[in-house]
């Protein structure tokens, strides 16, 4: 659950940065409000995992973050459009560990 708190802090920050950049506030620019919706959804999923104390939410939120990160990297390569969703790759080590440990409940 310590990890969940860390992910919540990280993705909350990414969501805020994406909102600021989509609204061109405080010198940030280039973001998109719909990307911040996705980042907000990922944060909310982590948050629910922490509240209900279930790893399933942390794992699925990490998977979505990883998928979104892969997509935003492709978008950056294709059109040089930046999104803070790129940093979703930080969940990769956790996802790899969990998938390796997957077992029948």
């Amino acid at each position: 659950m310590v990890l969940a708190v860390a992910f919540i802090a990280c993705f909350s920050l990414l969501t805020i940065l994406e909102i600021l950049s989509s609204l061109n506030l405080f010198g940030f620019e280039g973001g998109m409000i719909v990307n911040s919706f996705v980042l907000g959804t990922i944060t909310a999923t982590f948050l629910k995992g922490l509240i209900v104390k279930k790893n399933s939410y942390i794992l699925v939120a990490s998977l979505i973050a990883l998928a979104f990160s892969a997509l935003t990297i492709m978008v950056y390569l294709a059109s040089e459009s930046f999104s803070y969703g790129i940093f979703g790759f930080i969940t990769a080590p956790y996802v790899v560990r969990e998938l390796k440990n997957k077992k029948k409940v």
């Binding site: 997509l71 059109s79 029948k104």
Partner: protein, 569 residues
């Protein structure tokens, strides 16, 4: 030898057909992919066998059209053999249909498909015991992995066995199915894997399910628009170069080839990457098993509009092409819900409209192209739902409900992913080589003759004659002409703009462009869709669909223009 493949929806009949024939029929991981019978020929030990894949059905009561198609085929065509494809994960429910099939007295083989998934879940089925009880051979297969296919081929050549007949009323048949399933199955442990359990818990979460669904939709549009864009631009510049090079030669033939064929067809073909990327993403969602969860998630919401979960699958299929989507409404048992679902389907933005959005969004909203495209899709869905609500409370009043099973999650098989994406993209490319090619030549002719310049052409006469109807929106006659030609197929709108070679940024403002996109989203279904509506629910409803959609499109485009003026003036 004629072999009928019969089974419940989503048990892998089409995958098995592909495995037996080496065919490339499109499969899915949700019920209702096959709504018409499909035929495939296979050569087994030098003998030609014709396989007929019938629509997935739960019973032979003939309440829905697909049940009727299956029952009529078995009664009238009398195949040599029935392959009863059974989902090994849910034997009891599948046996209900098996027992009903015994009454035909046709030789049969029971195929326990998805056996790998069943064994992974701790389900052991004694096929010998099942064979003794039913009197027919039982073969275990995994069509996706090719397991048991050779053994099945051998059994097919042996001709199967005449089944023991099980007669009785509905309750009696259910009781027998229960008893047989209990007798032949040992469930060691039936639990979802940790990953499956986690995915279901979160994807179906009351609060997070919908935001996650919307996030996936956004990812799909970003993938379709932004990631595919460099490829689209590369193809576009290639076709532009080719068109101007060819039309540089003297003579009407080179003019037709360059300004007509290459400019029109090339303009449409340059959007193939966008279309392929859309289908790839949709195929991943379908084959992974996520789509039925999304259907389940929105069922409650849909019921407020008089539709139900089963309507969602034709609607989602409508994002690809409205024609198969309208055929897919056959699996809806309630006639009024079926008609409503077919009528609102053209409001679902099919892939043919995507080139129009990409073209206009790229020119008028370069920074927010994905947002504009997603907004158009959402508006299409909202208008479809509002229309359904109105129809179900007026012309098509009535109550309904539905039951849907959730298939297991699967990592999409690369071969099936490729087949699904390619078969859909191929359809788009084929249209470019047929309808769009002919229409490009027609548009080139009417824009070139009789005067030699566009201003003095037949196209100008036609466009200018109809243009007053669209005067409130401020669209030029060229854009009106593109709309008229788009009635044949929506891609022709882009082809016409290509042939006319007009700079659309010079003749319309962004709000007019958005209104134009909205109009192309909503106005009359294309010819093929109208034909499908007529075939499925009748001429009267087809006429209604044309008049209704045109009225809605006109009203929405007019409102968008008027509201847009506040922002752009």
């Amino acid at each position: 030898m004629k072999v009928a493949m019969v089974g419940n929806p989503n048990v892998g009949k089409t995958s098995l057909l592909n495995a037996l024939t080496g065919g490339d029929f499109s499969v899915g991981n949700f019920p209702g992919v096959t709504v018409e019978k499909k035929e495939g020929k296979g050569l087994i030990n030098g003998r030609t066998v014709t396989f007929v894949d019938l629509p997935g059905i739960y019973s032979l009561q003939a309440e829905s059209i697909d049940e009727k198609v299956a029952r009529d085929y078995l009664e009238k065509e009398k195949p040599d053999l029935i392959l009863n494809v059974v989902n090994a994960l849910n034997l009891e429910r599948n046996l209900y249909l098996t027992l009903q099939l015994t009454k035909f007295g046709i030789p049969m083989i029971i195929v326990l498909n998805m056996i790998d998934e069943a064994e992974k879940n701790g389900i052991r089925i004694d096929e010998k015991k099942l064979s003794e009880i039913t009197g027919v051979p039982v073969v275990k297969t995994s069509a996706v992995k090719g397991v048991g296919v050779e053994e099945l081929k051998r059994e097919i050549l042996r001709g199967g066995g005449i089944p023991r007949t099980f007669l009785g009323d509905l309750q009696e048949i259910i009781r027998i199915a229960e008893r047989i399933a209990k007798n032949v199955t040992v469930v060691e442990k039936f639990e979802k894997t940790e990953i499956e359990g986690a995915l279901d818990e979160v994807f179906m979460d009351r609060h997070l399910g919908i935001p996650i669904f919307l996030s996936f939709m956004w990812m799909m549009f970003t993938f379709t628009y932004s990631v595919a864009q460099p490829l689209q631009e590369f193809l576009e510049s290639g076709f532009d170069f080719l068109a101007s090079y060819i039309s540089g030669f003297d003579g009407w033939f080179f003019s037709m080839l360059g300004d007509g064929v290459i400019a029109g067809v090339g303009n449409v073909l340059s959007f193939v990457p966008n279309i392929a990327f859309l289908f790839l993403f949709l195929s991943i969602l379908e084959l992974s098993g996520y789509i039925p969860r999304a259907v389940f998630l929105v069922d409650g919401f849909m019921s407020r509009f008089g539709l139900h979960g089963r309507s969602v699958i034709p609607l989602i299929m409508g994002f690809g092409c409205n024609v198969p989507a309208i055929l897919a409404t056959r699996s809806i048992e309630d006639e009024k819900v079926r008609i409503a679902t077919a009528l609102i389907n053209p409001f679902m933005s099919c892939s043919a409209r995507l080139p129009i959005y990409v073209l206009f969004a790229g020119l008028f909203f370069p920074k927010n192209g994905s947002v504009v495209i997603m907004a158009l899709y959402v508006i299409g869905v909202l208008i479809a739902l509002i229309s359904a609500f109105i129809m179900r409370n007026t012309l098509l009043r009535g109550e309904s409900e539905f039951i849907m099973e959730l298939p297991p999650y699967m990592i999409p098989n690369p071969k099936e992913l490729w087949l699904m994406t390619w078969s859909r993209t191929k359809h788009f490319i084929q249209k470019a080589g047929t309808v769009i090619l002919v229409m490009s030549i027609v548009v080139w002719y009417i824009t070139t003759y009789p005067g030699g310049s566009i201003e003095e052409s037949y196209a100008a006469m036609l466009g200018k004659a109809i243009q007053p109807l669209f005067h409130p929106m401020g669209w030029s006659w060229e854009l009106v002409l593109a709309l008229i030609s788009g009635f044949v197929a929506k891609e022709v709108v882009v082809a016409t703009i290509g042939v006319l070679n007009i700079d659309i940024t010079a003749i319309m403002a962004p709000h007019q462009a958005f209104a134009y996109m909205l109009f192309t989203l909503l106005y009359m279904p294309c010819l093929a869709t109208i034909a499908a509506i007529r075939a499925e629910i009748g001429t009267r409803w087809a006429v209604f669909a044309v008049v209704f959609s045109f009225s809605v499109a006109y009203a929405v485009a007019l409102i968008a223009t008027e509201v847009g003026i506040w922002f752009w003036q």
